[in-house]
């Protein structure tokens, strides 16, 4: 999915961030991850929070250095709905009547 691992979400920067801002944010995140800062271990996406690692940060910076790859990443990130602090829950459906079959005399 192009939203959960989008480089902009991994780095926590907007699609209008300049190349210098991207590099600076990546260095900051790598340092925080090295020192084991808890807040650096997760990032927000429209699908909810995801785990962040140093490899993901390096891959995200590499992607945003390439103008073409950045263009594709921007297409997704720029037009995505706002990031969610909680995992996105599916739309609720009619709850099944658990245990009814047993109550009607059938197993299990």
């Amino acid at each position: 999915m192009k939203l959960a691992d989008n480089p902009f979400f991994v780095l926590g920067v907007t699609t209008s961030a300049s190349r210098i801002e991207v590099e600076r944010e990546a260095q900051k995140l790598l340092g925080m991850l090295e020192l084991g800062f808890a807040e650096a271990r997760t990032y927000m996406t429209p699908l909810g929070p995801r785990e962040r690692s140093a490899e993901m940060v390096r891959a995200a910076v590499a992607a945003l250095r390439d103008p073409y790859r950045r263009l594709v990443a921007e297409l997704w990130a720029h037009h995505a709905p706002p990031s969610q602090a909680e995992p996105r829950a599916p739309t609720p459906t009619t709850p099944p009547r658990a245990g009814l079959r047993r109550a009607l005399g059938w197993r299990p």
Binding site: Y68, A80, T94, L100, R107
Partner: protein, 502 residues
Amino acid sequence: MYALPYLVLQRLRQAAINARRKNRSWHYLAWSVLAGLANAAMLVLGASFVLFLWSVALWWLAIPMLAILVVPVIADTLVRFVFVPGGHHRLAYHAALYSRPGSDPPAYALCVAAWAATGGTAVAWVSARREARRPLGDGEVAATALLAAARGDDATARELLRSLPMLVEDHPAVRELAGEWLACDAAERAAWSELCEDAARARWPATPLTYLLEGLAARYTGATTAPSAGELWARWALAPRHRATRALVAGALAIPPGTGAAPRPVDAAGATDPAEPVAAAPTPLPRAVAAHLAFEVNPVTPASLAYTVRAWDTALVDATTRQWLAQRALELDAPPGAVDRAIHEVAGAVTDDLARRAEAAQLGAPPGTAGPVGHGLSRRLRHGRLDALEAAFSRWADRRHDNTRHPAIDEWREFVALLTAYNAAVTAGGLELRRLAFPHAFSKGSNMAAWLWNKREEYALSHAISKWLLAEALVVGDAEAIELGHRNCALAIPTRLGRISS
């Protein structure tokens, strides 16, 4: 003094039950009441005769009379309320044998034993009895399904029970049990529409419990044939398990007939998806991304797939998308041709995502989609499914040569699984895929049907395959297959209920 009225009542009771099996109108209630009255009268007569024998010191005659006259009348009640809940599979089996369920009582008894079976010993006992019965018939398939249900494998149970109508051997008591299990299962999943469809097509003879659940389903879905409050309470009174069903009846009666909570209909192209989450998005691209996101997190439906495909097809050919991409490409100093390449790459990635989830949900490409995503998805789903089907049919036919005599029920399960995959693929791929898939299926299926008839003597199983091949041949218009199918299906099928011509 006792024998003649008893025999008349027994005939009357059986006739009422047989008539009830063919009805789903108010006649059902009338026949049920008649059968119940006959049953009660038989019980009174039988018990009086036994007491009379006992009182005149003929106890040695009273005991066999008890077994002959009283036990068959109360056997079904004992099975349902004592032996099955207690897990007494042997007692359930023998009680069912004595309940006079019609021709070939062991078929019904086997199902009842499977219904009561708990634990490995009971399952092994039922399986051994099943294996001893050859050739395969509806009783063995239903018993296998009930064993699967007992170990929590509902999907297998459902699939096997749904396959019963393909078998020519028809024990009404077995079909009643199958229908009741499926009705209870549908009620538990709140799959009221499924239950309504079964009732409308009268797929199974109904037990009083099935008949009640069908009435509830009609009320819940707002069907025009939904029973009135009085009729629903009458059905409730006839059915067992009053305490468990009372709340369901009360809930269904809260909905006036004809106005039930049926799901909102979706048009052929799925245009009225209730989960259009981004209708307010101003331009096509944000709408497409939001639709994609909703598609990823929510259960996949034909409507949500159609909506997402349409949203992407609109977004990727939209002028504002190209304009935005061209401007950003310029600002980022992207290489020439980056816009077209990006659109192509996004279309491919989206198609991959949608195809993966559509495959998992066994959905086909939505009709009438002409954009890059719609085209790609149709091609991907059709080709992938055709390859998978051909491989599965070849593997199935190779079973003839692996020098292993598989149990007949395994042969049936293999066929049913293949059939499910075939139906899912052709439903999704349409007539075009059906025409492409049929020749291979016909070649392998005909060989298997001939082998099962000639070598394995599994006549009902072989006939079911031939009948299915004939039905498919008629749909795709394959003249050679139609001719062969008619010849094969015209053969009389030896079963435990006699030779059956279909």
